[in-house]
Amino acid sequence: MTVARTTVGASASSLAPLQSFLSDVWTAEHLPESDRFPFELALEEVFMNVVMHGSEGRTDVWTDVTLEHAADSVQMTIRDNGNPFDPLTLAPPDIGAAMQDRPVGGLGVHLIRTLMDEVTYRLEDGCNVLVMRKRLRID
């Protein structure tokens, strides 16, 4: 098991460094390219939610990302001290709705739940902790 971790301030300018972190870990661990996308996507969706909704009226919010590579899976834990919010309580969007009725937001969490094998949320010491895990594809 290998563990890598980084912490950034919750502002949009931290998105690029976070994606670089993910990309560097992926390369260092020789993880399959085809498995990277769900993690990149989940990282952006969760982090931007913290930036846009979790940090309202605050400048002290941070986000901490941990990647753990086990034999057959990768686990990503995103922890933040933003406003407490369980994204898994959001109702799934109506993906069958017609174009004019589709809300323009609310898709991020749905994408994460669909693309990851396991997503759990807990509130720990006042921090949001979202744990996402996906088995690696066997080539």
Partner: protein
């Protein structure tokens, strides 16, 4: 991300290249809105070539929806084509593949919007 636009045979094509994430979405939306407006003025169809689009998040997806609505309102035939596997997965999972015309290749897209290659 990079965008290049070309127009021929009453068809405007935007070639999207790179990563369409939160940071890129604002620029993409501005460019797409301009393209919808000019296609409407010129009576052109609008296609987005996604063959080199490596990544899209919900922020990017949202722009496709906004553009598809604007195109529909302006009577501009609109389709996207040549999605990479990751982008295709996002379109499928979000249900967007059902509300936006998604074609496998350029020939299919041209046929969909009523243009000939």
């Amino acid at each position: 991300m990079n965008l290049t636009q070309e127009t021929q045979n009453q068809t405007t094509t935007l070639h999207a290249q790179g990563r369409l994430d939160f940071e890129a979405a604002g620029h993409f939306q501005q460019e797409l809105e301009k393209s919808v407006a000019s296609a409407a003025t010129d009576g052109n169809a609008l296609l987005i070539d996604c063959g080199s689009l490596e990544y899209v998040s919900s922020a990017g997806l949202r722009v496709f929806l906004v553009a598809a609505r604007a195109a529909k309102a302006a009577n501009v035939p609109f389709a996207v084509y040549a999605l990479t596997p990751a982008v295709k997965e996002v379109f499928d999972v979000s249900g967007f593949a059902r509300i936006i015309d998604v074609l496998g290749d350029r020939a299919g897209a041209l046929e969909k919007v009523g243009r000939h290659a």
